[in-house]
Structures are given as C-alpha cells and as structure tokens.
C-alpha cells in the first residue's frame, strides 16, 4: 500500500530519506527500547510508516492492545514512507533494528536478503489460509518472513452522476473504456485519469493492464505488453486523458476526481474515507476493465507486512512474534480492514468481510487474484519497475512507440 498510500509525500520524503542515509554515514545511531537482554522482556519497539496523526494513534492503540495480550508494552515509532527503507538499512548496519518492523510488501525480500530478519516459522507462525499474493510477497527463499493483516489493490472509481448524465455504462473492456472515456470528456473535464508518474507508483498503476492482458515483467517487450501500453497512449492521444498524468501522483489523481475534473480514475480503497467526506460526490467502484471479456483480472497487491528483525535477545524476538501473530488474527484483520477500507489477507476472513461490507466487494474480488510485485523477480524487481515506468513515460510523451519503449524497458530490466 505504500506505493499507494502517501504518494506526493513519497517524493518529498524521498529527499529526507537521502539526508537520513547521509547522516547514517556520519554514524548517528538511534536508541533501542528498554528491556534488558536475557531478563524478562517488558517492552519492545515497533517501527512503521503510519505518520498520519490519526493513523499513527490508531496503530499505536492496536499495537498496545496486542502488546498487552503478549505481556509487553510497545514503543511505537513512525517515519515517513520513503525514509523507512533508508532508516532500516541504517539501523541494520548499526544493529539497532526495532523488535517489530513494518515494511511495504515489495521491500520485504530486499530486507530479508540482508539476513536482518528472522523466519516466522521458528515462532510457530505460518501463512496457511492467506491469499497467494501476500504469501509470495512475504516469502524469501521458501521461508515466510513477513505477514500483512490486510491488503489492498487498485480498481476503477467512477462518478455516478457523470456516467448517468452521459448515458455511459461502467466499462468492462478496454474498448468500452476508450468509448466511455471519450464520451465523458467535456471542456474542463477528462473522461479518465491514471498515475503515469516517473516513479514506482506509476508502475504500480500500469501493472493491472499489463498483467491482465498476459504481459509479464520477465519479458516486457511482448505484444501483450505493447497492447496494454497502447491503451494508455490512445487515451491520452484522443484527449480523454490529460497529458498531465505523466506528472500526477495517485493523490493528484484523487484530487482531480474529487474536484470533478475527471469522470473515472484508477485508485485504491485508501481514498474512500476522503471521498466519503466530499459532499455531492456520488462515486462507485468496479474492477478494472480487461482487454476482452473472459480475461482474468490480475492486479498488483498492496499492503504492509510485519516482520521480526534479528537481534541478540531471543526473548524479545518471541515477544515481538506474539504481537505480530496478534495483529494477524482474524479479529484484528477484520477491524483493520473496516478501519482503512482494505481487505483481510486470510481468504476465509475476506469472504466474511465481503458479506458484511458489500461496498468492498469489488476489492475483495480483485485482491483474490492480486499478484505480488516481487512474486516473480524477487529482489530484481526494482529494475523491472524502473523499466516499466520509463516505458510508460516514453510512450505517453510520444518519444517512442509502445513497442520501442518496451524493448528499451526490457534492456533496463535485465541491466544490459
């Protein structure tokens, strides 16, 4: 969800991330929590990127409640999204990692590779009953290192009033999407909006189109990938989508939608509470269109996994694992999902949730087939991700045809 959640903040905090690492070189260390090694553990530390004031407080309460059940107090800290990985690397080198660590799911394998995390099976925690996507995101070399209580993905949001006024049905195929977007476009308003930014967030939004059409990050220069990219190019060329999508973050896309400047958009459920607060906005959500009916919709999996870093005290690790297990129990999954409009990651809990909250049904359905970004390439994913957004940018600006752009992307992905 990170790529997803606080996007414009991402770029900005990216700068602070750099600064953080520079400071790391200068050797500024951070403190660890209390609780002596060997003796009885009374408190553990937890680190995440929920910096938003309310979110931070809500997670703080949940961690405390789980800590109470595990017999420890939890010292909870949050850092901005983009500085989390630099911070973790710094703490890894100075051996000051927190006892319980949250990571955006595509980063988990990178950190697990360093050896700084402990496999969860040694605490008797397994990923049975979890949706396949999240299980693969949390797994490195056959061992589960991280588990997410809830997951999310992207879907098609639309403005009900605008669709009704234009007499357009919710598009299910790409052709329908092209027509609908064109018919919904008016002076001062576009039919469709996506995030085609030169960041991993842009990649994340393109993935459902790439994957559902049979495209694959292992081979980006395929005709299927070119068709997907052609769809975005067509939308911009025909004027149904602003060329500014090249520079929009997911938050910008949301703002355009809420301001009535676009009739449809690709976005995630974490926007729902803000949309609900907007007066006179009647929005609906549907699974993203596929090229032709019958194709299986494949969306990228978003969500944060929790992991237990390696440290000198076995007792602390066990306490942290108990808190992790508690966060991932069905009751907490349901509560978190309702709180943040996400989807419980255990399939059985998810179907119960879909019955209870029908408005989330589109997401529950999409998430079942959601694929982890690191599922295929693992730690090599960042290169492919860079290739993909570079291709999207080159094609949408008209610098290259989709085919040329994707051939170039493939070269970036394989590092040749």
């Amino acid at each position: 969800m990170n790529t997803a959640v606080r996007p414009s903040a991402r770029r900005i905090t990216a700068l602070f991330g750099t600064v953080a690492l520079v400071l790391a070189a200068a050797g500024c260390g951070g403190g660890t929590g209390s609780g002596s090694a060997g003796g009885k553990v009374t408190s553990i530390t937890a680190l995440d990127y929920y910096t938003d004031a309310t979110e931070h407080a809500q997670w703080g309460e949940r961690l405390s409640a789980c800590g109470k059940a595990a017999g420890v107090t939890v010292e909870h800290r949050s850092v901005p999204g983009a500085s989390l990985v630099p911070q973790v690397l710094r703490q890894a080198s100075s051996r000051t990692l927190p006892d319980l660590l949250m990571l955006d799911n595509p980063d988990l394998q990178q950190i697990a590779r360093t050896g700084a995390l402990t496999p969860l099976d040694r605490y008797g925690i397994d990923a049975d009953g979890y949706a396949e996507g999240i299980r693969s995101a949390g797994t490195y070399r056959g061992k589960v290192y991280g588990l997410a209580p809830t997951v999310s993905t992207v879907a098609l949001f639309y403005n009900k009033d605008m669709l009704a006024e234009a007499g357009v049905a919710v598009p299910k195929t790409w052709d329908e999407l092209r027509t609908a977007a064109a018919r919904l476009t008016r002076p001062g308003r576009y039919g469709m909006a996506v995030d085609a930014n030169a960041t991993f967030e842009g990649t994340w939004q393109f993935l459902p189109f790439l994957w559902s059409n049979g495209g694959d990050e292992k081979r980006l220069d395929s005709p299927q990938a070119a068709q997907a990219l052609q769809l975005w190019v067509d939308l911009v060329r025909s004027g149904s989508m602003s060329k500014s999508v090249l520079n929009w973050t997911q938050a910008d896309v949301h703002d355009q939608f809420v301001a009535g400047r676009t009739a449809m958009m690709v976005n995630g459920p974490w926007r729902i509470s803000a949309m609900d607060r907007t007066e006179n906005l009647h929005w609906g959500v549907a699974p993203l269109p596929v090229r032709r009916l019958g194709q299986q919709l494949l969306t990228p999996l978003g969500g944060e996994v929790w992991a237990v870093p390696r440290n000198s005290s076995e007792a602390r690790q066990r306490a942290a694992a108990r808190v992790l297990a508690c966060l991932n129990d069905p009751a907490n999954m349901l509560a978190l999902a309702e709180q943040y409009h996400t989807v419980p990651s255990r399939s059985s809990v998810a179907s119960r949730y879909a019955e209870r909250v029908p408005s989330m049904a589109a997401f529950v359905k999409s998430v079942q087939g959601a694929r982890a970004r690191t599922g295929e390439l693992g730690v090599k994913w960042p290169r492919a991700a860079t290739g993909i957004y570079t291709a999207v940018q080159a094609a949408l600006t008209g610098e290259q045809t989709p085919e040329e752009a994707l051939r170039h992307a493939q070269r970036i992905a394989t590092g040749s």
Binding site: I12, T18, A26, S93, A198, K243, T386, T397
Partner: protein, 308 residues
C-alpha cells in the same frame, strides 16, 4: 637582570613552539570538521564506487571489491550520457538566467530610491522558502490544464490551449531551468550587489566628467571592477547547480521520459530506488569530479586576479 638575559633564547624557542602549537590548535576544529563531515563521506563514496555495495552490505558489512565495474556499467549506459547532456544544459541555462537577471536586479537596486532596501530584502524570499515547498507550488502552477501560468496566458489570449510545461519532453527541461533560475536569483543579486557597493563612487564621477554615458560607464568601470566577483558567482553557481536534486525531484521527478534526468537525480535513483549503491556512487563521483574541476578553475582564477 643577568639571569633575565640568559634564558632569552630558550624562552624565544618556547614561545615559537607555543605559537606553532597554538596555530595548529586553532586549525584543529576546522580540520576535524572537514575530515569528519567532508573527508569521510567523500572517501567512503569513492570506496563504495569500487565495491558491489547492496542492501545486504548494510547488515553483513560484506562488499566485494569489483574494480572498475561500477564505472564501466554506469558510463556505458546511454542514459548516463543523456543525463550528462541534460546536466550541462540545465547548468548552463540556469547560470545564464540567474546571472543576467541577478546582475540586472543588482544594478537596479544599486540606484537609490524609496523602499529600495525593503524591496531588496523581499527579493531574498525565494531563498528563505524550503525548496520542497516552492517546488511543489511551482508544480501546481505549471500544470497544463489547471495551472495558474497557463490560465494567465489563456486569459491574456496569448494561447488557446495550454503549454505542457512539465509534460512535454522539451518544455520540461525549460521549466525546471526557469524554476531553478527563480531560486538562484537572490544569491546572484546579493553577491553582485555587494560587489557593486565596493566600486568607488568617484570612478563613476570621473567617467561622467570624461563624457561617458551609462552604457560606457558600465562597460569601462562597472564590468572590469565587478569581474572578480562575477567569476566567484559563476563558479559557485556551477558547483551549486550541477548537484541540484530536490527541485527536479519535486517538480518533474526526472520525467517526462527522462527529459529532466540529471546526473544527480540518476545517482539518487540508482542508489535509493534500485538499491545499486555502487553504481549510484560511481555516478555521484563523476559529479564530484565536475565540481572539483570548477573549484580548481575558481581557485586559479582567484589567484591570478590577486596577483595581477
């Protein structure tokens, strides 16, 4: 007083020693600061560029030595040369704009007029704003459809549609240069204004007596005397501009289609998005070398100016 004259040479030697030690003691804080906060990171960066430095290194500390491989892969990529060209264009464009406008403003404020001092201090405003804040504001202002810049141009009937300031591949570089010029004007104005203050007023009077007009007195009095200061401004400008990261990252993120990707943003991307710290360091070192070259030019020009 005999005993007083005997130890004189001894005392002088001790005094000399003490002077020498105290000289070094005065230098010590600066040396410690330099080696800790400049020397160490630079050395570390150089070492890193010869290693395979990955995320794993942070935990295990193991970074295999790979010789020049990071440099060969970094330098053989097309993207590197494109980024180098963009860096050159960005730097040259920014400097030209900043310097010309900065000099014009400095000359303007050099003349006395009511509220001149107040206006001059307001001019420093861009300098006081955090770059992330001004960058984000510029990003909104330059939006093709809803940005205030295009809106104003449309209202003035200068154009019918909108200029894709940030989303056109050729326009984006111009836009980030414009933003960077805006950021750099206060620095140029402040330093050049200082330089103008140092030019003795009687030279202008003499020039006037000789019948020199405004243009002639600028050419023959102001410019020759301002040249050392102008040199400093330009060289520092190069050093400040080649490494600009925040503005580009906030305004365009290096896009669209790498049109605003400079060596600085590329190095950042390699290190912090792709976690290839070795290649990122190698790219960064090229930047350090460019800055170093200009710093040497600056030092030499400075020395020559002082000798002449």
């Amino acid at each position: 007083m005999r005993s007083g004259s005997r130890p004189a040479p001894d005392g002088a030697a001790r005094a000399r020693l003490r002077a020498r030690v105290s000289r070094w003691l005065f230098l010590l804080p600066a040396l410690a600061h330099l080696s800790l906060f400049f020397g160490y990171p630079v050395v570390k960066n150089v070492v890193m560029s010869f290693q395979e430095y990955s995320v794993t290194t942070f935990y295990t500390g193991a970074a295999p030595f790979v010789g020049l491989r990071n440099y060969t892969t970094a330098l053989s990529a097309d993207a590197f040369w494109r980024a180098l060209l963009t860096t050159v264009l960005f730097t040259a464009g920014s400097l030209a704009g900043q310097f010309v406008l900065g000099l014009a403003l400095a000359l303007f404020f050099h003349r006395r007029f009511p509220l001149g001092g107040l206006l001059r201090s307001l001019l420093l405003l861009p300098w006081l704003l955090p770059l992330v804040v001004s960058g984000t504001t510029w990003r909104w202002m330059l939006d093709t459809d809803s940005g205030v810049v295009n809106q104003a141009l449309r209202d003035l009937h200068l154009l019918s549609s909108g200029i894709p300031w940030l989303t056109g591949t050729s326009e984006a570089l111009v836009s980030v240069i414009l933003v960077n010029v805006w950021v750099g004007i206060p620095f140029n104005t402040a330093i050049l204004y200082g330089g103008l203050q140092d030019i003795p007023a009687h030279l202008y009077e003499a020039a006037k007596l000789d019948g020199a007009g405004r243009l002639a007195s600028f050419r023959h009095v102001t410019w020759p005397l301002l040249r050392p200061v102008a040199g400093v401004v330009l060289v520092l400008g190069v050093v400040y501009t080649v490494k600009v990261l925040d503005i580009i990252l906030v305004v365009t993120g290096g896009g669209p289609a790498d049109a605003t990707q400079t060596l600085a943003t590329r190095s950042y991307q390699l290190s912090f998005q792709q976690f290839e710290f070795g290649r990122g360091a190698a790219t960064g070192n090229v930047l350090v070398l460019v800055s170093l070259a200009f710093a040497l030019v600056h030092l030499r020009a400075d020395r020559r100016a002082r000798n002449s």
